[in-house]
């Protein structure tokens, strides 16, 4: 994931959107930025959920960011708008628009095209507004990560969605805390049982299996493939079996 320097990606069709209908189009682009940041944060939470012993500080900071976005979106009333859009698989390409959030001050001039929309100018990095040539996925399809409570986004009631969203955040913390099977099952669709092999666990072969997962994570081709390693779901029967063996020995 690390890249040398900070190369910005460029999507076609940017100039048209930004240049001509600056006033009106600027508003959805802010929402897109924010949505993109939200998507990225959720993906990060998923990722750190899957790694061995996730870094709690990082998870807490990302979760706080997600909450902050959620609160702002609730205030804006854009929460409902997002829910009606299609769900699907998040791909890393679509998360790139967040580069807009990090503009240098020379782009502030373009930022003046943006009307005061809700809390936009005050709260956000408003001085770093859109740049014509910048990364922006098309406004029509805003994707959300599928593997985070996919049913959550399909529900029609925004209140319930908020509740489920909060619930999924909470579940992430619960699983960080105690790795209970129930909550993790909600978050992950696939589990590879081969990693619960007793020999594998006892001989500490986890590093090998971890490498295998990293490969699949990096491709980001399908979130479904980013299934858990054995951390995410513990088969209680296997655990009991292991404990029995340890106790008897």
């Amino acid at each position: 994931m690390f890249v040398r320097g900070l190369k910005r990606k460029c999507f076609d069709g940017e100039e048209d959107i930004e240049g001509t209908l600056a006033g009106i189009k600027a508003i959805p682009s802010y929402n897109l930025q924010r949505q993109s940041l939200l998507d990225m944060s959720l993906v990060k939470l998923q990722l750190c959920h899957m790694l061995v012993e996730p870094n709690l500080c990082r998870s807490v900071l990302i979760a706080n960011t997600v909450r902050q976005i959620q609160e702002e979106m609730t205030q804006d009333g854009t929460w409902q708008m997002i829910n009606t859009q299609s769900t699907g698989q998040a791909s890393l390409d679509r998360l790139v628009s967040t580069d807009i959030l990090c503009r240098s001050s020379r782009d502030q001039a373009e930022g003046k095209h943006v009307p005061a929309y809700g809390t936009f100018n005050k709260d956000f990095e408003s001085d770093q507004a859109q740049d014509g040539s910048e990364t922006m996925s098309t406004a029509s399809s805003v994707q959300t990560p599928r593997n985070l409570q996919s049913n959550m986004w399909e529900m029609e009631n925004p209140q319930e969605n908020k509740g489920n969203f909060q619930k999924s955040l909470d579940q992430i913390f619960e699983t960080l805390e105690n790795k209970s099977p129930n909550s993790v099952e909600d978050l992950f669709s696939e589990v590879d049982n081969s990693y619960y092999d007793l020999d594998t666990m006892l001989t500490g072969m986890m590093s090998n299996t971890k490498m295998g997962h990293c490969d699949s994570l990096e491709t980001f081709s399908s979130p479904k493939n980013t299934a858990s390693n054995s951390n995410c779901k513990s088969d209680l029967n296997d655990l009991d079996h292991i404990v029995e063996i340890l106790v008897e020995s």
Binding site: M1, F2, V3, R4, G5, L6, K7, R34, L37, M40, K44, V52, E53, N55, L56, C57, R58, V60, L61, A63, N64, T65, Q68, I69, L95, T98, D99, I100, L101, C102, R103, S104, S105, K122, D123, F124, E125, Q128, L169, D170, F173, E174, L176, E177, K179, M201, L202, G204, M206, S207, K210, S230, N231, S234, L239, I242, V243, L246
Partner: protein
């Protein structure tokens, strides 16, 4: 060579310990100045290497426990041996490093090669004599302090009483006695009853250098709490609370993340403390809680890149900071193998690079500059050319002299002030 994860001089400065991701500790010793090799003064050579921690597996949680050494702290030297504490995510170990340069010869009951002698061959008694041998440095674990932390240990700090020390993880701080391994006292616990309500974690903790009842801990929300152990057994109520009010004009979604404090260090005098957050270093007067007395920008040019740094996770990098022996200068690391020093009196700051290309032995380091505006001058580096994989997270300053140790990924650089 593995990635270095911690660097620490001992109290006298003659030993420098490094811990790495593979659980190894390497100790360097300063060469004594000799007439035959006058230029060797200040050179540090390998003194001892040992495996401190091994990878472990937590069976109940099905999680690996990394062997990476998070922190090393020396104990003050009280006899010929040296003692240090090293910790990974879960277990702290007290190591004794001792020298052996003599060997006993002339035992009565065994031969020179160790085999037992036949009793009837012992016709006379003799006193074994000590003969010199090649210097051997032995490291042995004297105490293992385990099973006291549910979360990852981020700090250890030896108390000025030289008898106790604290260990801090994300949510709790424990107090240990160096002699007792089966018991530790919990002195701070910020774990909420409901983990869903968790919004803040402990990021660093340190004992006051002179007051053995005082310690501080920093949080992911950019606050520092000073606690007095005399006030209560559980120091959840702080005695002092340090927080700088947020500048509303610079608020963004990343404000909280960049305010998270990655390191806190008391000055040698005990009057000040220094905190490192993502973009700056702040010096606080312990008598003033509402704002720091000094703020130094480490790499302000990254403020406009926060989103990309969030995307590639660099925004979560934990930089450390350190004081020089007289508290007149502070040092911290940055990206592209750059590290920065700030002179507090003159407000002069310097950016230097720790890399093979720019560091020929005995050559003076050239100051570096990052170009922030459009026009790049010669020898300047533009922000977009910075290598964010080359990060200097760990630095240490000799307690008395101007010698610094800089860890650049898996290389250790030692620089010293040129004396004319």
């Amino acid at each position: 060579a593995d990635i270095i994860s911690t660097v620490e001089f001992n109290y006298a400065g003659d030993l420098l310990a490094t811990g790495d991701k593979g659980g190894r500790v390497v100790i360097f010793q300063r060469e004594q100045e000799t007439k035959s090799r006058p230029l060797s003064r200040g050179e540090y050579n390998v003194y001892s290497t040992f495996q401190s921690h091994e990878p472990e597996f937590d069976y109940l949680k099905s999680l690996e426990i990394e062997e990476k050494i998070n922190k090393i702290r020396w104990l003050p030297q009280q006899n010929a041996a040296h003692f240090l504490l090293s910790t990974n995510d879960k277990t702290i170990k007290l190591w004794k490093i001792s020298e052996r340069d003599k060997r006993a010869e002339g035992y009565n009951l065994k031969d020179e090669d160790g085999r037992l002698r036949e009793p009837f061959r012992v016709t006379e008694l003799r006193v074994p004599t000590l003969k010199p041998m090649d210097l051997m440095v032995e490291a042995s674990p004297r105490r293992i302090f385990a099973n006291a932390h549910t979360y990852h240990i981020n700090s250890i700090s030896v108390n000025s009483d030289y008898a106790t020390y604290l260990s801090a993880d994300d949510l709790r701080i424990n107090l240990w006695h160096l002699e007792v391994t089966n018991r530790s006292f919990n002195i701070v616990d910020i774990k909420p009853a409901n983990m869903e309500e968790l919004t803040e974690v402990i990021t660093a903790a340190e004992f006051h250098p002179h007051q053995c009842n005082t310690f501080v801990y920093s949080s992911s929300k950019g606050t520092i709490r000073l606690c007095d152990m005399r006030s209560a057994a559980l120091c959840d109520q702080h005695s002092k609370f340090f927080e700088e009010p947020e500048d509303p004009s610079s608020r963004s979604f990343f404000s909280e993340i960049i305010s998270s404090i990655s390191d806190v260090k008391f000055s040698h005098s005990g009057r000040y403390m220094m905190t490192r957050d993502y973009l700056s270093v702040k010096v606080w007067d312990l008598n003033m809680e509402n704002r720091p007395v000094e703020t130094y920008q480490v790499h302000e040019y990254l403020r406009s890149k926060l989103c990309s740094l969030y995307e590639n996770d660099c925004i979560f990098d934990k930089f450390e900071c350190c004081w020089n022996g007289t508290d007149s200068t502070i040092m911290t690391g940055s990206y592209n193998n750059f590290f920065r020093t700030f002179e507090r009196n003159t407000h002069r700051d310097t950016t230097l690079e720790a890399s093979r290309e720019s560091s020929k032995p005995r050559a003076i380091l050239k100051p570096r500059k990052v170009c922030t505006s459009g026009k790049r001058k010669k020898d300047e580096i533009s922000v977009d050319s910075l290598d964010f994989n080359k990060k200097i997270l760990h630095t240490a300053w000799h307690p008395m002299e101007n010698i610094i140790a800089v860890a650049a990924t898996n290389n250790l650089y030692l620089f010293q002030e040129k004396i004319n």
